[in-house]
């Protein structure tokens, strides 16, 4: 059980990106290096605070699952990101919405290749409360 979540401040946004092997320094869409798959991750809402990059570029094996993608993101962006997104390993909160090329991803154990030719992943936390 972690103590408090300290959200990155505006300063933290400017910190350098960590793992060089995960980063494609080129413009989105270019295929300079050819790993198994190039994935552009768009983080919105509170998640956007974890990086100044929009989109973030991930290079993953084609057999990778969405869950692995999120693990990679968590590794890269820090535990606080994971805490917001994952209620337990490989299980996102119901209010965390992930879209792969516009399609809602519900099963994190699904591999990219099984669902779409996913090249764009959007992720946002949606919260609501209701009554009456």
């Amino acid at each position: 059980m972690s103590a408090t979540l300290r959200l990155p401040t505006a300063d933290a946004r400017s910190r350098p990106l960590l793992t060089a092997e995960l980063v494609d320094g080129t413009e989105p869409g270019s295929n300079a290096i050819v790993p198994d798959r190039v994935i552009r991750v768009w983080l919105f809402g509170i998640l956007s605070r974890f990086t100044t990059e929009r989109p973030l570029i991930l290079h993953l094996p084609a057999t990778a699952t969405f869950g692995e993608a999120i693990d990679t993101l968590a590794h890269r962006l820090g535990g606080q990101f994971a805490e917001l997104v994952l209620q337990e390993p490989r299980k996102t909160f119901s209010h965390c919405r992930i879209f792969a090329d516009g399609k809602h991803v519900e099963n994190l154990n699904e591999a990219f290749e099984r669902t779409t030719s996913a090249s764009n992943i959007e992720m946002i936390l949606v919260m609501a409360a209701e009554g009456g």
């Binding site: 401040t9 409360a129 209701e130 009554g131």
Partner: protein
């Protein structure tokens, strides 16, 4: 413009009926608005629609008096007096929209850069159309602090969450078409306000005409009880005891229950170990059941349900396990009718009779053929709502009532207790919207559609409150929290190391000062904000505390692409039609009024998070390619609505199509309405997850000095008294409670002079109902002005209405009356402000779901002359 002449002669160009949606309550019935020469001269129900079927309640048909209220806000206002308080004149100054938006956007930019969680957004439940735009806005901004104010707090955590767990829906209602015997506990569905209110009024009347018997358990004989075949008055807040006693009679005395249903559709056969937890298969972790044929314990997935034991005691892996149902049977035994009579005041003989009637009317084992489909037939329903669940013991109260349904298999089958539309296979053309409940690894039901912050089941793992100020991260059964406004909020935030404090509030139409609890505590919480923006129709008591007040458009001036979606919320349940109506503007804004959703878009642009908002709309509206909003392109709200509609119903059915047609509808299938036999899910009659949840919560809170009473976290429901039941101070001998009036929606409609007039003609709307004999005993007369006072010295004044139709210990007050502000002059001074009596703190909140206790023990004294 000479309106009079044109109306009479009608020789005018503009004489139009427009198809739209009501918004006088969240029922959101479909309307036709008659506009002549720019003036709306009549609002009627839209007979094409399944929502209201062309008929409206008093509020709906009187809506144009709210729309045309001269006291509506017309220009943005800015506070000039920095001091805030009940006795401070805000010194309002008119400002331009540009100034207002720039100032708000500057605050938003600053807070978003610092810590977006410092923004709190809250909305009224009344305007359903404000939900999705608010939700998208907070998601895009990045704050988890989104609240539905008092409307959400006072029922959301109990009635809605437990309906979600047991029926995969927001609420439950009898299957009026086929039900023969309904028993209501503190509910008025079909007889007053509420979800799908007008449709339900018609359906309930049909059922009554058909001969459906209705028993209403309620301290007050109004709305539903007035139309019931039997009114069962009981002591306030003891509904759970009565329901459990009825269950006891059914299980242990009459031995009537639906064995196949319990075996197949509940966790009744799951084996429970001495630790009160499932005994699980060591390999798969699946809960075990006892296979009567093989005489072994096996995973529930591996045994045909008919072979699962419901009774007995079995040794499994070295421990003694008993089926959950056996434990329930044992547990219920303490609720003997005799003991329950002492708790509830309902005579033991009546409890036995009611249990017998309910059990026998259920016709366990019977089937019926509808549209060629053979379906289980259980024409009984036990229904609970705000009244019975509005207590600290909210979870058990609601669950105990629903157990009646579960015992006889009267859940989402023909004639039974129905969730509002938990299963939808979508429009024939697009198969959208599509949602069906599904099972989790334990076989228990997860709802297919939900609106809350988290799903009702499975509950999230409790964590430190990294996100929400309301502590829903810790108390994961709670949706709306009292701690945004409680006396002890600072103490709690400190305890839980909440690393930030709220700084800015965006309020949409909620009159929080009236809708949560006593006004002093709520005002104190509001005064802590550095900056408050309030979108409102009127300068309400709450908006008076804002820094900027923005003039909102009324429902007749607004657009909404999904008036009655989600269907689990306010579309009529039962057979009939799926119906997706929209709202369109009938008249333009007056003065400088602007639509809320448009303003939010503008704010996102000015504060620089339009791309986030577009993404949030994609997620919130579940927009499909190619209708998804792209990048940071500036869409108007009309365009977003258009995308929503095309995405769901096809390229050719955009906003213009809907403006012309008003709605789209298609028939419901029997397997959608009576989905339970077709979907392989179970619901918990034994809440195994509750005890571990309590331990996990306690592990967080108890080191910080917040004790978790474990008796609220047992897997089987109990009746636990309210704080009011513990008050034995001399002279404090009435249980005061509030109820929702048939003619009013929260505090909002009291400004409507037609509704106000009707309420003044009503014997109870603006009075305090007291039993005649009780009044006589105390020398109090009908019409007397009295003080109602709590032990904590909170008091309200009002006129007594002496009646035979209330429990001798009850004191009934219609909710949310008693406005004191000048911004709603029609409402000012009318009725009694019940919530003033309510404490808002941990002590009065459910330790499970944070529900506030809504009953109070009070003393009633005549107001001295001259006082």
């Amino acid at each position: 413009m000479n309106i009079i002449e044109s109306d009479v002669t009608r020789a005018t160009a503009d004489d139009t009926w427009l198809k739209s949606s009501c918004s006088l309550c969240y029922g959101t019935c479909s309307i036709l608005a008659h506009r002549v020469d720019g003036v709306v001269i009549k609002v009627e129900g839209n007979p094409d629609s399944a929502v209201g079927k062309g008929r409206l309640c008093g509020k709906g048909v009187g809506g144009l008096m709210t729309h045309y209220d001269p006291h509506r806000l017309r220009v943005p206002l800015h506070r000039t007096n920095p001091r805030k308080g009940f006795n401070e004149d805000p010194g309002w100054k008119q400002i331009s929209w540009d100034e207002a938006l720039d100032e708000i956007a500057a605050h938003l930019r600053r807070i978003r850069a610092e810590d977006p969680r410092k923004l709190v957004v809250q909305r009224t439940t009344t305007v359903t159309a404000s939900r999705a735009p608010s939700q998208a806005f907070v998601a895009a901004f990045g704050t988890p602090n989104f609240s539905t104010a008092g409307g959400g707090l006072h029922c959301g955590n109990g009635a809605h969450v437990i309906s979600g767990v047991m029926h995969a829906s927001w609420s439950v209602v009898p299957d009026f078409e086929y039900c023969n015997y309904a028993i209501y506990f503190g509910a008025s569905k079909g007889h007053a306000a509420g979800h799908a209110s007008c449709s339900n009024m018609g359906k309930a009347a049909d059922a009554r005409f058909r001969g459906m018997k209705m028993v209403v358990v309620d301290p007050f004989c109004n709305f539903a009880a007035a139309k019931a075949t039997e009114w069962v008055p009981l002591r306030v807040g003891t509904d759970a005891a009565l329901a459990l006693a009825m269950c006891n009679v059914m299980v242990n005395e009459l031995k009537i229950y639906d064995t196949p249903y319990l075996q197949a559709k509940t966790n009744a056969p799951y084996l429970i170990g001495p630790d009160q937890l499932y005994i699980r298969d060591p390999k798969t972790q699946a809960p075990l059941v006892w296979d009567q044929e093989s005489g072994t314990a096996r995973p529930f997935t591996a045994v045909p349900s008919a072979r699962m034991a419901l009774r007995g005691s079995f040794t499994v892996n070295g421990v003694v396990g008993r089926p959950a149902f056996a434990l329930l049977g044992e547990h219920l035994k303490k609720y003997t009718p005799e003991r329950t009579e002492e708790i509830t005041t309902v005579p033991a003989a009546n409890i036995r009779r009611l249990a017998g009637e309910f059990a026998r009317e259920a016709r366990v084992g019977s089937t019926i053929v509808i549209d060629g489909v053979t379906l289980p037939y259980r024409p009984v329903a036990a229904i609970a709502f705000r009244g019975s669940q509005g207590h600290m013991n909210s979870v058990y109260n609601f669950l105990a009532v629903d157990l009646l349904n579960q015992l006889v298999g009267a859940a989402d089958v023909v004639g039974s207790c129905l969730g509002f539309n938990p299963t939808c296979y979508g429009h024939p053309d697009t198969k959208l919207p599509y949602y069906v409940p599904k099972a989790d690894a334990d076989g228990l039901m997860v709802t297919g559609m939900w609106m809350g912050y988290h799903y009702p089941y499975p509950t999230n793992k409790p964590r430190m409150p990294s996100k929400q100020l309301g502590l829903q991260d810790v108390f994961t059964m709670g949706m709306t929290s009292p701690f945004l406004n409680s006396t002890d909020q600072e103490m709690l935030w400190e305890k839980f190391d909440v690393p930030y404090r709220p700084e800015m509030l965006i309020n949409y139409g909620a009159n929080l000062l009236m809708s949560i609890g006593n006004k002093d505590v709520v005002a104190e919480s509001l005064l802590k904000y550095k900056f408050i923006v309030s979108f409102d129709l009127f300068l309400t008591e709450t908006s008076v505390l804002a820094d900027i007040v923005l003039p909102d458009c009324s429902y007749l001036q607004s657009v909404d692409s999904r008036s009655n979606f989600p269907f689990i919320f306010s579309l009529p349940a039962g057979l009939g039609e799926w119906c997706w109506p929209i709202r369109q503007a009938v008249v333009p804004p007056d003065g400088e009024q602007r639509r809320y959703a448009d303003v939010l878009l503008e704010l996102a642009d000015r504060a620089g998070f339009r791309a986030d908002l577009n993404a949030a709309y994609n997620a919130t509206y579940d927009l499909q390619s190619p209708f998804r909003l792209e990048g940071d392109r500036k869409y108007s709200f009309d365009e977003i609505c258009d995308a929503d509609l095309r995405s769901h119903f096809g390229q050719e059915r955009g906003l213009d199509w809907f403006k012309q047609h008003g709605l789209i509808k298609w028939p419901k299938k029997p397997e959608e309405v009576y989905w339970r036999p077709f979907v392989d899910v179970r619901v918990p009659i034994y809440w195994e997850f509750l005890k571990p949840l309590g331990e996990q919560i306690a592990a967080i809170t108890e080191p910080r000095g917040l004790k978790i009473p474990r008796h609220y976290y047992q897997p089987l429901p109990d009746w636990i008294g309210c704080p009011s039941h513990a008050c034995d101070a001399p002279g404090f001998d009435f249980y005061a409670f509030y109820y929702r009036d048939i003619i009013h929606t929260n505090s909002f409609t009291m400004e409507n002079p037609w509704l106000d007039e009707a309420a003044r003609l009503d014997p109870f709307s603006y009075t305090i109902a007291m039993n005649r004999a009780s009044a006589e005993k105390r020398g109090l007369k009908h019409g007397a002005l009295v003080w109602v006072e709590t032990e904590k010295r909170r008091k309200v004044k009002g006129r007594l209405a002496v009646t035979e139709g209330i429990h001798p210990e009850g004191l009934g007050i219609a909710a949310l009356a008693g406005h004191w502000g000048d911004g709603m002059p029609i409402a000012k001074g009318k009725g009694v402000f019940f919530n003033e009596l309510l404490e808002v703190d941990w002590e009065h909140s459910s330790p499970v779901n944070l529900n506030l206790d809504l009953c109070v023990k009070v003393r009633v004294t005549a107001v001295e002359t001259g006082q």
